[in-house]
C-alpha cells in the first residue's frame, strides 16, 4: 500500500464531497469508535435487509483523512452481505483511497472498526442481547493491525507508548 506524504486526489475528493453523510432513524446497528490520542470520532449507522447492508450513513468528527476514510468505507460496505462487510479492513479502505499519510494510518483510519462495531451491535440486537452502551475505545490501540509511527523520525512507536522513544517527542518538560 502506498504511503502518502500529503493527501491523494481520491482522499481530497471524498473529503470535499463525502458520500452517505448523516444518520438513520431506527437503525438496525450503530457503531462508534474514537481515538483520544488525536481525537477522531466516527459513528456508523446501518440498515440491514436480507443479511445485506441496505443503507449506511456516517458522522465523523476529525481531520480530512478521517472524513475521507468514513466516506470511502460507506461506499465499500453498501450492498455487501454481512459476512463480506466483516472482511473489510482499515487497510482496504486506505488502499482504496490511494494511500494515506503514514502518521494518519492509525489515528484516522478507523472506518472499518466503526463498521465492525455497528455490525456487532446489529448481531447483538438480533440475538436479543441486552443493548450495551455505545462505547468509545478508551485506550490507544492498534486495532487495524497498523503500526503507529513518529511523524518526525519515522520510528515505530511501540504498543502502549504515547511518546516516541527515539526522539522523545512530547511537550511535557
Amino acid at each position: 500500500m502506498e504511503v502518502m506524504a500529503v493527501y491523494s486526489e481520491t482522499v481530497m475528493d471524498h473529503f470535499r464531497n463525502p458520500r452517505n453523510v448523516g444518520t438513520i432513524d431506527n437503525a438496525d446497528g450503530v457503531g462508534e469508535v474514537g481515538n483520544p490520542m488525536c481525537g477522531d470520532i466516527m459513528t456508523m449507522y446501518l440498515s440491514i435487509k436480507d443479511d445485506h447492508i441496505d443503507d449506511i450513513k456516517f458522522q465523523t468528527f476529525g481531520c480530512g483523512a478521517a472524513i475521507a476514510v468514513s466516506s470511502m468505507l460507506t461506499e465499500m460496505a453498501k450492498g455487501k452481505s454481512i459476512e463480506e462487510a466483516k472482511k473489510i479492513s482499515n487497510k482496504d479502505v486506505a488502499k482504496a483511497l490511494g494511500g494515506l499519510p503514514k502518521n494518519k494510518l492509525h489515528c484516522s483510519n478507523l472506518g472499518a472498526d466503526a463498521l465492525h462495531s455497528a455490525l456487532k451491535d446489529y448481531e447483538d440486537r438480533k440475538a436479543a442481547k441486552p443493548k450495551g452502551e455505545l462505547k468509545r475505545k478508551e485506550k490507544h490501540e492498534h486495532v487495524g493491525g497498523e503500526k503507529c509511527y513518529c511523524p518526525y523520525c519515522d520510528v515505530e512507536i511501540p504498543e502502549g507508548e504515547t511518546v516516541c522513544t527515539n526522539c522523545a517527542l512530547t511537550v511535557d518538560i
Partner: protein, 393 residues
C-alpha cells in the same frame, strides 16, 4: 479569486523596500565583513548599519547588544542553553511557563538530560503568567527565567515588566522570547528590564532565516556556535549579510509605521470579533481580552476539527492556521490550549487567524462568509454536534 492570506504568523511576504534593499545588496557584491579590504569594509559598514536599525527598533542601550542569528529558534536556543551553560557554578535550575514555544521547551528538555532541573509555572484561563508564581519558583540555584512576551497560539501578552522586577531583585538572568512581538508592538528592552530577548525578522516583513538576540551588556551567556569572532564573539560564522540588510530595512519601516500598522490591525481585529457572532455560534475566543497581540485571533469552534476547516477554506483560496492535533504533525493536542483549560475536543477546533498589512475589512467579511459555510458543512458531519443538540429536537 485572489489568495487571501490570514495566516501571517506562518509567513509574511517581504515588503518591496526590503526586497529592493536585498537585491541591491546582492548586486553590490559585498565582501566578507571580517575582511580588511575595501569590499569587506563596505560589508562591515552595511552590517553595522543594519545592527543600528534593529537596535533602535527595540531601544538597546548600544547596537553592540544585538547579535544577529538565523532566526527566532536559534536566538532562543542561544539564550536558554548559553545562559545555562555559562552559569553552572551558580546552579542548574531553570524557570519557565507552561505555554512556551517548543524552542524553549525542547532546549530546556535537552538541558534536563544534562542534569538541569526545570520548574514550569502555570497560566490562568487567559494564558497569563502570575508573577508571584515566578517569584516562588526561583531558588538559590536558579540561573535563568524564560517567559515569552506574546504567545503564538493565543496572542496573550505576559507581564514581562513585573517579572523582570522580580528577576532583578533576585539576581537571576531573564530571557524573553519576543518572536511574535518585536516589530509588531512597541518593544523597549530597557523599559522591560530584561537581560536577553529573542526575535525574528519575518514577523515584521523581513526575510526568514534571519533573527536577533538582544544580550544586555554584562550578561553571562555562552555562544551556541563557536569558531570565528564575528558578532562580538557571540556568534561565530560569516554573517548572512543579505538577509541582515533586509532585516535592517524592515526594522526601520516597522519603527516608522508602527502606529499606523497597530491601528490597522486593531480595526481588523475589532471588525472580526464584532462580526463573528453574525456568522457562527458556539465558539470560544482564546487569549486575554486586553493583553493580546493586535494582529491575532484564536477561536475554538465547537464540534468540528481544525484541519478540515483549513482544507475547506483553502478551496476558497483563503489561508488560515489551526492548532488541531491532527494538523500538528505530532498528533498531540496543543500544550498551550490544554494549559488554558480547553477540553480536548475544543482544542481540536482551534483556528488561528493572523492579519497582515495588505488585509482589509472586506477580507474579514470574505473569510467569515466562507467560515460560516464550512462550519455548517462540518457540523452536519459531526457526531458531537448531533449529541450536543439531540435534546433540542
Amino acid at each position: 479569486m485572489n489568495i487571501l492570506n490570514l495566516d501571517h504568523i506562518s509567513a509574511n511576504q517581504l515588503l518591496p523596500e526590503v526586497q529592493d534593499a536585498m537585491v541591491s545588496a546582492i548586486r553590490m557584491g559585498y565582501g566578507n565583513p571580517s575582511s580588511q579590504h575595501k569590499m569587506g569594509e563596505q560589508g562591515s559598514e552595511a552590517l553595522e548599519k543594519a545592527r543600528e536599525s534593529v537596535a533602535s527598533l527595540i531601544n538597546c542601550a548600544s547596537p553592540k547588544e544585538v547579535v544577529f542569528t538565523s532566526g527566532g529558534t536559534e536566538s532562543v536556543n542561544h539564550a536558554v542553553k548559553g545562559v545555562a551553560l555559562a552559569n553552572t557554578d551558580k546552579g542548574k535550575h531553570l524557570v519557565t511557563s507552561n505555554i512556551e514555544h517548543n524552542s524553549v521547551i525542547r532546549s530546556m528538555r535537552r538541558l534536563k538530560m544534562m542534569g538541569y532541573q526545570v520548574t514550569s509555572v502555570p497560566v490562568d484561563e487567559h494564558g497569563r503568567v502570575n508573577p508571584d508564581h515566578v517569584a516562588k519558583a526561583i531558588r538559590d540555584d536558579t540561573v535563568l527565567v524564560s517567559i515569552m512576551h506574546a504567545n503564538n497560539e493565543i496572542g496573550t501578552i505576559e507581564p514581562i515588566e513585573e517579572i523582570a522586577q522580580i528577576t532583578r531583585e533576585k539576581k537571576v538572568t531573564f530571557h524573553v522570547d519576543a518572536v511574535d512581538s518585536v516589530g509588531v508592538l512597541p518593544i523597549d528592552v530597557q523599559k522591560l528590564g530584561v537581560d536577553l530577548l529573542s526575535f525574528a525578522s519575518n514577523p515584521f516583513y523581513g526575510p526568514t532565516g534571519v533573527g536577533g538576540l538582544y544580550i544586555r551588556r554584562g550578561t553571562s551567556v555562552w555562544p551556541l556556535l563557536e569558531g570565528g569572532i564575528q558578532e562580538n564573539n557571540n556568534r561565530a560564522g560569516t554573517e548572512n549579510l543579505i538577509g541582515i540588510i533586509g532585516m535592517g530595512v524592515a526594522a526601520e519601516l516597522a519603527k516608522r509605521d508602527m502606529k499606523a500598522r497597530l491601528s490597522q490591525f486593531k480595526r481588523l481585529r475589532e471588525k472580526f470579533l464584532r462580526e463573528l457572532p453574525n456568522y457562527i455560534d458556539e465558539y470560544i475566543i482564546n487569549g486575554h481580552p486586553e493583553y493580546c497581540l493586535p494582529n491575532l485571533v484564536s477561536i475554538s469552534v465547537k464540534y468540528i476539527e481544525g484541519e478540515s476547516v483549513v482544507l475547506m477554506v483553502d478551496d476558497e483560496d483563503i489561508e488560515i492556521s489551526t492548532r488541531s492535533a491532527c494538523a500538528s504533525g505530532s498528533l498531540r493536542a496543543s500544550h498551550v490550549l490544554l494549559s488554558i483549560g480547553l477540553e480536548f475536543a475544543e482544542a481540536q477546533g482551534t483556528l488561528v487567524i493572523t492579519f497582515g498589512l495588505e488585509n482589509t475589512e472586506k477580507d474579514v467579511v470574505r473569510f467569515l462568509t466562507a467560515l460560516k459555510e464550512t462550519v455548517k458543512t462540518l457540523r452536519n458531519l459531526s457526531p458531537l454536534y448531533k449529541k450536543a443538540h439531540q435534546t433540542e429536537h
